[in-house]
Symmetry: C2
Subunit: 232 residues, 2 copies
């Protein structure tokens, strides 16, 4: 379960539920950096990303900007119980979402098990992602954080035919998601490239070697101690 669940809902994407859902849908478009909704209305809707990229951001008084989550095309999300200083913004131009009243949708779900399933899956996936995020922030080194993040994006984003995946977000966004500085993210990417873990085609398009589940140490352990003795 959880991590192995489908990325998006096949049945929905085949269009089988469009007819039922379409009349409840309101289209919301936003360009780069714009919020998609007034904060106090956020929790009243279910959202479905149709194109572009969306981020859930929390601003600190100090100016630090914590990105809690990204939502990619075909993903559903709902903003239950989030803190008041959280906003949902478009990351890039041309971002479009479908907006559905929660009351309407959840009433539909009582009658229609397929719709109920979409909502339940979306919830579970949001929970699972939050846990992965906690785990990733918890005790990992910067290079591992970045590698795991890229691997997650590879799984959630469509790849080009040549296997390269275009990332829709900037280094700053990655840094604010991973709790690192931009410089550290950039350095981590350079290290991963030098280790042939990722291959670049331009700055934001890359191919990620996956299946590496182990941590691999960044540096070899230092020599015991530079005492008087020296190697010939």
């Amino acid at each position: 379960m959880g991590r192995r669940a489908a990325i998006h809902d096949r049945a929905f994407d085949r269009g089988e539920f469009h007819s039922q859902l379409a009349k409840w849908r309101t289209s919301v478009a936003a360009s780069k950096g714009q919020p998609i909704c007034q904060p106090n209305r956020l929790a009243d809707y279910w959202w479905h990303v149709e194109s572009g990229l969306v981020r859930q951001v929390r601003l600190q008084s100090s100016g630090l900007r914590c990105i809690h989550e990204f939502f990619l095309p075909h993903e559903w999300f709902v903003c239950d119980g989030i803190s008041e200083d959280t906003v949902i913004e478009a990351v890039c131009d041309g971002t479009v979402l479908g907006r559905y009243g929660r009351f309407d949708l959840e009433r539909l779900a009582v009658e229609d098990v397929a719709i109920a399933q979409i909502l339940r899956d979306a919830r579970n996936r949001q929970t699972a992602r939050a846990e992965e995020h906690i785990f990733n922030l918890w005790h990992r080194r910067s290079v591992e954080k970045v590698r795991v993040f890229l691997d997650q994006m590879r799984a959630r984003l469509p790849a080009r035919s040549d296997g390269f995946t275009p990332l829709p977000m900037s280094r700053y966004d990655m840094a604010d998601y991973l709790g690192l500085s931009v410089e550290t993210v950039s350095r981590a990417l350079s290290i991963l490239r030098s280790r042939r873990v990722v291959e670049f085609d331009g700055v934001r398009t890359l191919k990620i070697a996956h299946g590496l589940d182990d941590h691999f140490p960044l540096f070899v352990p230092p020599p015991p101690r530079a005492s008087g003795a020296r190697v010939a």
Copy 2:
């Protein structure tokens, strides 16, 4: 919403729903360090902590032990979409939970709005806590992490009449929750004590000054540079 929500459900604790829920309840007791359920059955139930303390733990192959969440007396939780290597354990002896079949409880909730409200609140609180946890792990310094953690515990745990709060968990548990080493947690507590932010009565019982929302720097910025010039 979210952070300001009631800690536990008043109506439930007044016993008004006991009569309805009691027949679905199975009592589960566990002593220190014991799991409360087989991992593969975890997601089949709603849980209600009645006494003691429970932790949600994820073990890494390397031996690191990430504590995702604590659940305190009177709190409900459900294990949707969690990863397979997660276990729920009692933190201390004498931990007792009520276990309710999800199917049963959620069918009850369709008819009974009060029960539905309990479950919805519990879900929202779990989401909100996960977000707070992410935020706390994200970019904070160790002393701030510990202070915020203590403040959360103050809000969730009952205080003694003299205002001191007994913490049910060890330094190791705090460390594994906050992504720090035990030593760093211990040092952070010493620093907070020396700053009069917390006051101790024994190692695990303390009073926390709250309302501090600001970060306060650990060290004063270093002098510009020890150049040739020297202060008289």
